[in-house]
Assembly symmetry: C2
Homo-oligomer: 455 residues x 2
């Protein structure tokens, strides 16, 4: 039987030594090294990522691909020896892209690169043929309100950061329709790629008509801007079959390693298993699913069973409905009080950097100490805030300490694009991130005290 | 009246000083500096490139875009004050891409990124639905000949250099049909991009049936390879409307700065004005057209009229027929003996590096000396061989010294792709390359002796 270090002593030590490594961490050096070594010993995680993305492709909510991938995950978690493996039902929206196209008519006939925005309405079978007006912001739109009626509005807003720029993808159609726009184009939300279109959800305001929205590459937005600046008429035909069908059943996938002493206390890790459709959703977010799942598989393989339960959840419908995250909150409402921490990996799987963390100061000291063990992976940074779209509903409902998995790399270059494929991720990145998550998760789950109870 | 340095003296000096800069070059230091300063004083060349590619888009042979762009070039050369501006008629093939698609059926339904190969036949209206077999070379194809019948062959050949890899795009369909293949896919000829498809011409052998050919991105080729390696069946539907229509009239565009003393001796510079259709043909090859045209415009602007005639030619139909280059040779057969040098720019407009040159040793000494004046631009390298697809027919017919414009950069990342847009080229690159070409061309055209007559 394992001896528990008295919590009070640990806290006193921890406080008195301040920046020094606390003694309690010593017990975890060996398991941490074993987890890291095991993860780095093969390309297992990358191969699994390649297998799921190669075999099932993109996994849009409502698609057969997603449900097949979910069934594969359940079966594979069972083969891994995880416990209580199950599907938890949620109803999800079924948005269907259908065929779509954007043809330049003036000044030169040319089919253009485009991608419809998720959740957009379609154009009707005849498409929408109209002149384009380019604006640089919502303020610029309002300033040219008199010129918008009957036109297609292009929001040509350079990418600064996601939060600032995505406002045009989310809100553009409902802002432009007020002035009589027929449809909206947005400059893809991301840095310049290789004529790369970025999709992502648009959100209609409740009180205005819905007009179609699509994204075009940065290059095309800049071309339209130059043409407008020269006084050249820009005329296009936008055709989109996009529409919603009735909601369908989908599932969050859950697997566990039950705690040896406090099985009702749960540490949740995971990512979302659904994806946008132009790529195969490797970075966003099959990679996040696999590296968090790997945390459990590595513990299982090494016989490392922590005191508390570690649960991996592959949420459904993050991209265009958040039904998975909301469903988890509702279905697990009674046990959220026993959720010690929730971690989401949904920022890509590039070189590991560490974690963002939201929780008490004491809990922050604890996870910061644990992160010291991740220095060999370059994953020892603990940033100011942590969270995730899927853990958010539960975290908010029950005040659960929350963590996001941090990596380097240029996530927004490939985010929601055809280039979101396994080729962007190396085997070493998969192994190193899985190792970092495994170590952090194992120790938080095994701590002699419950994370967040530090004084 | 300008004094001519005696040729013999120059040659003696040139020989005796060996690696030292020959004295005759001194007369050209000032004009070279003026040409460079004029080109670098504005972003004129880049703006012109943006204007032509923005306004006319891609310029595939047989398209209205190409002919509109040609008419614009004629009009604009006249406005620039060039002389003998004219269109020279050639008949060109009209290959029409039409709609095209590649849908993965097994293991997961998914529309894939693809682009048909230029000059390919279509699939018929029902498309071709078949299993895919992946091979790594022509030898691997032959080794698996018994498995090919009734299938679509994917040539998954990593990009090494263009010459080695393009063989699969050119020859793949005719090699695979012999074993009963229904169609061919080729891994895009280029380094990995962002799920970027590369088109380009395929060439059918005369003695075998024609089957459709299309390119897929590197990422998809690698995915198919992994699936095959795992024993997973790959089934796709390829649909292409591609077909030829009757030849149509197109034109080489010609403009000149007539020589002050030896107007019948001609230095030709130029690029091809047609392009593939997925991008706007900025790098391949509107940029080459503009920077060579700029050489004449800069001389004209500065009042620098060389002894011999400088002629810019914007050839048509380089990409899928070479009718422009062949037509030039035939229409100018009588005067090819007076073509002192021909230079083609068709390797992109990135940072200037210098020129490739094919000609006599004496001529090489001369152009090497001239290149010294391009050191401030980084364009002073003279490589072993120079040529170009459009100048090739004339050069071969009449043994003309020939030059290719050399640049750095990653031409084959964007070559024949949707990403061939003006965004890949900076104003400084346009100005610097125009300057380098202007200096080289002006001096060769003004030399006291005819290039190639050195002893």
């Amino acid at each position: 039987m394992r001896l528990k270090t008295p919590v009070l002593l640990i806290l006193l030590l921890s406080a008195s030594l301040s920046a020094q490594t606390p003694n309690w961490l010593d017990a975890y050096r060996s398991p941490a090294q074993r987890l890291i070594a095991a993860s780095q010993s093969s390309d297992f995680a990358w191969q699994r990522l390649a297998e799921v993305t190669d075999t099932y492709g993109p996994r849009l909510s409502g698609s057969v691909n997603l449900e097949r991938a979910i069934d594969w995950a359940v079966e594979t978690m069972k083969k891994d020896g995880l416990e209580n493996v199950r599907k938890e039902s949620v109803m999800v929206p079924k948005w269907v892209r259908g065929k779509e196209s954007l043809d330049l008519i003036d000044p030169a006939p040319q089919p253009l690169v485009m991608i419809g925005l998720g959740n957009s309405v379609g154009t009707g079978p005849d498409g929408i043929t109209a002149d384009v007006i380019v604006v640089s912001s919502f303020e610029d739109l309002d300033a040219h309100a008199a010129d918008v009626k009957g036109k297609i509005v292009l929001f040509n807003v350079p990418f600064t950061n996601y939060g600032a720029t995505v406002a045009y993808r989310s809100g553009g159609p409902s802002r432009a329709v007020v002035h009589g726009a027929l449809a909206v184009l947005v400059r893809s939300v991301g840095p310049v790629g290789l004529r790369t279109p970025h999709t992502g959800a648009t959100t209609y305001a409740a009180d205005v008509p819905r007009i179609p929205g699509a994204a075009i590459p940065v290059e095309d937005a800049e071309r339209f801007q130059r043409l407008q600046n020269r006084g050249v008429r820009i005329r296009v035909k936008l055709a989109m079959e996009a529409h919603f069908e009735a909601d369908v059943e989908s599932f969050n996938v859950v697997g566990e390693l039950r705690g040896s002493e406090l099985p009702d206390e749960v540490i949740v890790v995971g990512g979302h298993f659904d994806s946008w459709d132009p790529g195969v959703g490797a970075t966003d977010d099959a990679g996040g699913c696999i590296v968090t799942w790997e945390a459990l598989r590595l513990m299982k393989t090494l016989g490392l069973r922590p005191r508390r339960t570690v649960r991996v959840v592959l949420w459904t419908n993050e991209e265009n409905g958040s039904r998975g995250g909301n469903g988890y909150r509702d279905q697990h409402a009674a046990e959220l009080k026993d959720h010690v921490m929730m971690m989401e990996s949904d920022g890509g799987v590039f070189d590991p950097a560490g974690f963002g963390f939201s929780g008490s100061d004491g809990a922050r000291r604890t996870v910061t100490a644990i992160a010291d063990l991740l220095a060999p992976l370059g994953a020892n940074r603990i940033e100011a805030a942590g969270g995730g779209a899927d853990i958010g509903p539960s975290v908010q409902a029950a005040g659960i300490p929350s963590m996001s998995h941090l990596v380097g790399g240029d996530y927004f270059l490939i985010h929601h694009t055809p280039a979101d494929t396994v080729d962007r991720i190396t085997p070493k990145q998969m192994s190193d991130n899985a190792a970092a998550i495994a170590v952090m998760t194992y120790i938080v789950a095994d701590l002699p005290w419950r994370l967040g109870t530090e004084k």
